[in-house]
């Protein structure tokens, strides 16, 4: 089964063509890495897949369903979740509340104007579980403003995981992390079960190589090379445009 299928996707900002006829097929359970130097159009591609940008032409399908024109929030309800390269969290709330909001987003309870959210034990329990899976349960009650950058990166991932996605989009989950923190996040991502398909963006090739099974190399909005880890690394064009050799 194909988890994500992008066909002939194009997007231009004025005269600048940021996505040029991109085709992408990610099989269910796959770990796909999308790499490319800064400005290659990775995040733009992601934003179109996630529904935050509308493509000029082309189609996007998720598990066989055409989602090209579907609102971003509806894609979430179909099983897509994403993290942001620039941390986008609720700075006035606790870590627990951040994750609870992620869970609530998929629950019909979110329209309820009278019940007490803090007493919805099943939501709170599941939020704790998600936090435990990223190793943050001991500081669940801490206000986000008092957490470190590395902890916030993990909250981003916990929020995406809490939504039990079928397709997980990770936008540079290692950005700004120290070597130790990267290793922690790496281990965390390795533990995600196979029923979750993962597409990850990273511009720094070596940190994510270990994780990826297939790699797509994007350059100036175009897919240049695609294949297994070894194929892409050995491809002379990769070295040319990306590794700068």
């Amino acid at each position: 089964m194909t988890a994500l299928s992008v066909t002939n996707l194009c997007k231009a900002f004025g005269g600048l063509r940021v996505t040029r006829d991109v085709n992408l097929r990610v099989e269910a359970g796959e770990r796909r890495l999308i790499i490319g130097p800064n400005g290659a159009g990775k995040t733009t591609l992601f934003n179109q897949i996630a529904g935050e940008l509308t493509p000029d032409s082309g189609t996007i399908e998720m598990f066989g369903q055409d989602i090209t024109k579907l609102a971003s929030r509806k894609r979430t309800h179909l099983g897509m979740a994403r993290t942001y390269q620039i941390i986008t969290l609720f700075g006035r709330d606790t870590i627990l509340r951040n994750v609870t909001l992620a869970l609530l987003g998929l629950s019909p309870l979110r329209w309820n104007p009278v019940i007490d959210l803090e007493r919805e034990q099943h939501l709170v329990d599941r939020a704790h579980e998600a936090l435990a899976s990223v190793g943050l349960s001991h500081i669940a009650e801490r206000p986000l403003a008092q957490t470190s950058y590395g902890e916030r990166r993990r909250v981003e991932i916990a929020m995406a995981l809490a939504q039990s996605p079928k397709l997980l989009l990770l936008d540079e989950p290692y950005a700004g992390l120290s070597i130790d923190e990267r290793r922690d996040v790496q281990q965390l991502l390795m533990k995600i079960p196979r029923d979750v398909t993962i597409v990850m963006i990273e511009h720094n090739m070596d940190v994510a190589l270990e994780f990826a099974e297939r790699i797509t190399l994007l350059h100036f909005g175009e897919v240049i090379v695609e294949g297994t880890r070894a194929e892409v690394v050995d491809n002379p064009r990769t070295r040319e445009v990306y590794l700068g050799e």
């Binding site: 969290l89 609720f90 006035r92 509340r97 609530l104 986000l144 403003a145 916030r152 929020m159």
Partner: protein, 337 residues
């Protein structure tokens, strides 16, 4: 809040109980009907300020058009009473019409947020003022509309100051309870989420627009109720009620007390109503005072009085118990944007 000292919560409960007891017995210890009426005014404006705070404080949407909605409720009731309808019909219709107007306001203003939202609501409020002022054949223009009776639910007359006070208090308590429920509810949490990270909320599966729309209607409902209290209190309504100044005054109640708290708008309403009555009895220059307070609060105490005092109180409480004060949460800018 989970990180407040445990003693603080108990103290707050006791303070709330005392306040409530004082409010309940107010006509007996105040005596003078002038002061009872001022208390009614405070409570009715507190309902209005709480309604506005839903958008300003929890939704991050600053409306300068709420005076328009407030006036629509008052005018609708006055016009229907004038046409010979009963109080029940007039009141229900006033709320329905105001809710419909809120929906129109929301659809137009929610095309934008921030400054755009503020400008559109200002313009919409101004339209209501224009109708009230210029469409004289309907609204009696500058002369305004009078109503002659207050309703008497279950045969109880509301003509006396204490009777009207208790009605207002009852409405106020109901409003406050719905606010407390709303703030703790999932929908309330969602609304705050759309204030802080609308993009993220969308990605998490929330319908940001619809959440804001509901918040606008909720706010519009209590604005309508406070508008009804106003028309029954004054038994008169005229175009200045719909003007920008009324919106600005109410906004000042919200921000002077502290946005996104429930106590803030209530304290703000009390401060402003008392000040307006005191200042007006000495000098004519209420607008000048209003403007200066506005400028001072925005420049020097943007957090509002209630959060400011709460912070000092917590600090004092901790010092009293020989503890170090809790570290303050850093301002929201701590994360990337």
């Amino acid at each position: 809040m989970s990180f407040a000292p445990a003693g603080f919560i108990t103290v707050r409960r006791v303070a709330l109980a005392i306040t409530f007891a004082l409010l309940l017995t107010l006509p007996f210890w105040v005596g003078n009907s002038y002061y009872i009426n001022i208390s009614s005014q405070i409570l009715l404006y507190a309902v209005f300020a709480l309604a506005l705070n839903v958008l300003v404080g929890y939704g991050g949407l600053v409306s300068l058009g709420h005076a328009g909605l407030f006036a629509i409720a008052g005018y609708t009731a006055a016009l229907l009473l004038d046409a010979g309808h009963g109080h029940f019909v007039a009141d229900v219709a006033a709320i329905v019409v105001t809710l419909a107007a809120s929906a129109v306001f929301a659809v137009l203003a929610l095309r934008s947020t921030g400054i755009g939202f503020l400008m559109i609501t200002l313009a919409l409020g101004q339209i209501v003022w224009g109708i009230a002022y210029r469409w004289a054949s309907l609204t009696n223009g500058d002369n305004g509309l009078k109503i002659t009776t207050r309703p008497s639910p279950f045969g109880l007359s509301l003509n006396g100051a204490p009777a009207f006070y208790y009605t207002t208090l009852l409405v106020f308590v109901v409003a406050l309870v719905t606010m407390i429920l709303f703030v703790r509810s999932p929908l309330g949490a969602s609304l705050r989420g759309t204030r802080d990270q609308p993009r993220r909320m969308n990605a998490l599966g929330y319908n940001v627009w619809l959440i804001r729309f509901f918040a606008f209607l909720f706010s519009g409902f209590w604005t309508a109720v406070s508008g009804l209290l106003f028309i029954y209190y004054n038994q008169f309504i005229s175009p200045p009620i719909a003007a920008l100044q009324t919106s600005a005054e109410t906004l000042l109640m919200v921000i002077s007390g502290g946005t996104a708290t429930l106590l803030g708008p209530i304290a703000g309403a009390a401060i402003l109503v008392i000040m307006k009555n005191v200042v007006s009895s000495y000098i004519e220059r209420w607008n000048l005072v209003l403007g200066i307070i506005f400028v001072l609060i925005i420049t020097f105490m943007p957090e509002g009085l209630v959060p400011g005092v709460t912070r000092l109180w917590r600090k004092g409480w901790s010092t009293l118990r020989g503890r170090k004060p809790e570290p303050e949460a850093r301002k929201t800018g701590g994360h990337g944007s």
